[in-house]
Amino acid sequence: MQTGLDIAQSTENIITSLSYFVSEFIITIGFLLVIIIDLFLKKAERLVFFATILTLVLAAVAYLLQLNIIQTNSLLLFNGMFLHNSYVIGFKLLALFASIISLVFFNQDKELKNHPKGINDFYTIFLGGILGLLTLISSANLLMLFLSIEMLSIASYLMVSYTNKEKLQAEAGMKYVLFGATASAIMLYGLTFLYGFSGTLNLYNENIFVAFEQINSFSASLVLLMVLAGIGFKLSFVPFHFWTPDAYQQAPTSVSSFLSTVPKIAVFAFLFRLVAPFQFVSIHFSTIILSAAGITMLVGNVMAVFQKDLKRLLAYSSIGHTGFLLMLLVLPDDSTMSSNLWFYLFAYSITNIGAFMSIAYLEDRFNIKTLQQLKGLGKLNTLIAPCLVVFMVSLTGLPPTVGFMAKFVVFSSLISETTAINFLTPVLIVAVLTTVLSLFYYFNIPLHIYLKKPEELIVKKKKSVIFDFFVLILAILVIIAGVFPDIFKIF
């Protein structure tokens, strides 16, 4: 479609595309608005918060409206820069939903709020990151992919180090930036190869991968690995995971919660669209993905067993879940893959944000940071303790929670492929074994809360109603979505 494209046609394409780009415009406007308010008004924290949340809600509404009028087939916008179809919108809505909850979470995070620089700049960075996130989900061009990933990454670097004051936190932030920059560079290098071989970066151009038939499979796999490195860094699958535990532990809890969910949604939403072309590029693609999945599950879950710090524990758990999700990428059918990915990410996001929220709350109120300090919480009769147990049950994948349904959906979509894809059966067995292993560390939390001999807790602060409310809502959602998953599996 690139050939013979004259200026008139190209302009017309851009003009028609504009109407599909409403949400991105809304976010851009919100981004500018937040900067302006912060510059000219003093003590505008509330106003900025409402402006930000309004921006996100409006963007989500705009997508919902587009969902109603969307045709069944996909559209390419801006001369092949973006893809537009119902799956893309589904993932974008999920990402926005998780972002809105994260935003409320940021607003409650004392570490961010009491920061001398104020929280308003943080919101600006956050909105910038969201814009990158949304364009990442719909990228149809590899250059666009790179731009979006960088936008998201730079925002994340800043968010992690925003409250930087100690040496350890600086180290974590630095690790994150250096790792990220290297991964991006490798990915960009891989993209140049792609361009060199095919002469285009447009993913939906038939020519792009045809060229690969002529080169040997080793170089093809190498290119593929390079591109995967950039993506793997964002998803933190092994061996690109080293930054994760440090960053999650040192960053403000709300930021860790955001990082462990929303970027994952975006990157998986994009990654699954690479599967079909990449399978064509290299016959080893499923093997590479499956080995990454298996190793990631093993490393994530085994390392989690040894963690004492709650946030580090959740960091390794999120690595484990990434491995689990990666298995889905070997499914031969696009729509199956995307709809099951969506559901698993939905389940994972609400559970994980809920877990992080509970931990932030505990840290705030009782100064609880490690497993040991959880002792005695059960005696206090707080609402948060049973909710935290519900989240742990869901992360393990036991009924009647949404985590179980998500796991079951993944298992059942893969089990029929075991004969077709070699190497899948052992990875499935790894998935089952690591699920059992995960019970061990997830249940360390209820174990310390309820089973250990209680110790006196120092209550630092009174309880926060907003936290209580959100955690309870998320816990109830986790159970309802576990018993009636069909209400929620909409994409």
Binding site: D333, M337, P399, F411, S412, V436, L447, Y450, L451, D486
Partner: protein, 531 residues
């Protein structure tokens, strides 16, 4: 809404009520629990009386002949190219589930009555127990394998907390060990369930189905499904159906428990508080046996038939190993825990024979063991609550000091060791007859297994009589002086608890047809699966 749904959800409702009630009513929670159990007992007794037998009510692999059926579409989950996951809320009972349902209701009542010993955190304890109750009833009623699995897993969570919070010294270890063991079995089973789903279609609608009754009929399998009877697919070089059976069998064998998967049981039993030990021994072990019959055997009959020898062998090993280890115990509760391993071995031996005597014996053994193990654990609880000690050699000559108690102990011990006139005699005799006849009827298991199995009864007599002699006969002597004051004889509540159990143990020993008549048609239908 049918009676089975009421049976399942009444406890859940009461559990939520308990959660919402303010703390000052905490003394009333136990009466709630007892009330729920009484309601359930009434419902199951009614169902048991209304239960019909005969050619039209066989159950097993005939969906139409299940009774008190309930059906609601539950989950329709689109998973892409494989169509939608159709999960139904399908309940029903046949001859295998109805006696176990009654047993569960009775055991829950006993457990509620023995919960008087719980001193702290009533709200948590009783609401968890209600949740456990719901899950147990659900397991025995569910005919949709997914629904079954949900209830099956749902049992684990409350048990983990019930053992872990209200248990003994090593409760943390026991609770997590129990949880990990069971989960290891059941997560693999989840893969088999998913595989079965894509191999089986509903003959009426043509969609894939989780209905376990449809899974029992070979003609419902799609020809190229993983678990198809005809396709002979391999997984990792092992025939898929063989692997499926082994996975499911191990999942339930852990629950039964069968040697060598039994090591969680002594720990869990010893550390659990008395009511939870009662539920564990009385109901949960039966869930394992029921699962083997309903799922492992009924869905994979061809494999089960081929593996009969090994299953029988595992049964015999469990009988002898359990009994011999029990002989060496000095902790009364541990002794009884191992005697459970031994007694549940008879279930497996009877089942492996695939004769109608053997299977009836196995069913009878589950019910009889339900009553008797509950009685035994309650008896241990009586001593333990009074002096917080269970070491056998710390007690001697209790017969003169606690005569009523000793009376019940003797009933329980003699019934357990298989004295004629008690239910265990009928059960063990039938299992052994089945195992003995098997060689001439279908040639599945050799006679020496039955002979070795009967040594188990002998060993059972040895450890029970020896314990009776050590603790109850001879000169009165206990470890500390003040124990004599603490060791009061049974109070009214305790007598009221023990009487129905003793009554049923004798009743079924004298009139076993009360159970046999109910299960007979289903047992015969079950055997037809293997021909």
């Amino acid at each position: 809404m049918g009676l089975l749904s009421i049976l399942i959800f009444v406890p859940l409702l009461f559990g939520l009520t308990i959660l919402l009630l303010p703390k000052k009513y905490s003394q009333s929670y136990k009466y709630f629990t007892v009330a729920v159990a009484v309601i359930q007992l009434a419902i199951t007794a009614y169902l048991y009386c209304q239960f019909q037998t005969g050619a039209a009510f066989t159950g097993v692999n005939q969906l139409d002949s299940y009774q008190f059926k309930e059906y609601l579409p539950w989950i329709r989950l689109d998973i892409g190219k494989f169509g939608a996951l159709q999960i139904d809320y399908l309940l029903g009972v046949d001859g295998f589930s109805i006696p176990l349902l009654f047993l569960s209701a009775l055991v829950m009542l006993i457990a509620a009555l023995s919960s008087w010993e719980i001193k702290e955190n009533h709200k948590g304890y009783f609401s968890l127990m209600m949740l456990l109750n719901t899950a147990i009833m659900g397991v025995f009623c569910a005919l949709d394998i997914f629904l079954f699995y949900v209830f099956y897993e749902l049992m684990l969570l409350p048990l983990y907390f019930l053992i872990g919070i209200w248990g003994g010294v090593r409760r943390e270890y026991a609770a997590i060990k129990f949880f990990l063991y069971t989960l290891l079995g059941s997560v693999f089973m989840l893969l088999v369930i998913a595989g079965l789903y894509f191999s089986v279609i509903d003959p009426l609608t043509g969609n894939h189905t989780f209905n376990m009754v449809h899974m029992m009929n070979p003609q419902n399998y799609v020809p190229d499904g993983i678990f198809s009877f005809l396709a002979h697919q391999d997984i990792l070089g092992i025939p898929a159906r063989l692997l499926g059976f082994i996975v499911v069998f191990i999942a339930f064998a852990i629950k039964v428990p069968i040697v060598p998967f039994h090591t969680w049981l002594p720990d869990a039993h010893v550390e659990a508080p008395t009511p939870i030990s009662i539920i564990l021994a009385g109901v949960l072990l039966k869930v394992g046996g029921y699962g083997i019959i309903r799922i492992a055997y009924s869905i994979f009959p061809d494999v089960a038939l081929n593996l009969s020898f090994y299953i029988g062998l595992l049964g015999v090993i469990s009988i002898l190993y359990g009994a011999m280890v029990a002989l060496a115990q000095t902790d009364l509760k541990r002794l009884i825990a191992y005697s459970s391993v031994s007694h549940m071995g008879f279930v497996l031996l009877g089942l492996a024979s695939l004769t109608s005597e053997g299977i009836s014996g196995a069913m009878m053994q589950m019910i009889s063991h339900g009553f008797l193990s509950v009685m035994l654990f309650f008896i241990v609880g009586v001593v333990y609550n009074r002096v917080h000690d269970r070491y056998i050699y710390n007690f001697r000559g209790l017969a003169t000091h606690m005569p009523i108690y000793t009376g019940f102990v003797m009933i329980a011990f003699f019934a357990s060791l298989g004295l004629p006139g008690f239910s265990a005699f009928i059960a063990e005799a039938f299992s052994l007859i089945g195992a003995f006849n098997s060689e001439s009827v279908n040639g599945l298991i050799p006679r020496w297994m039955a002979i070795l199995g009967s040594f188990g009864i002998l060993l059972g007599a040895a450890y029970l009589l020896w314990t009776l002699q050590r603790m109850f006969f001879g000169q009165l002597r206990v470890k500390e002086e003040n124990w004599l004051i603490k060791l009061k004889d049974l109070n009214v509540r305790e007598i009221l608890t023990l009487v129905p159990l003793a009554f049923f143990a004798i009743l079924l020993g004298v009139i076993p047809s009360l159970v046999f008549n109910i299960i007979n048609t289903s047992v015969n239908q079950f055997i037809l699966l293997f021909t």
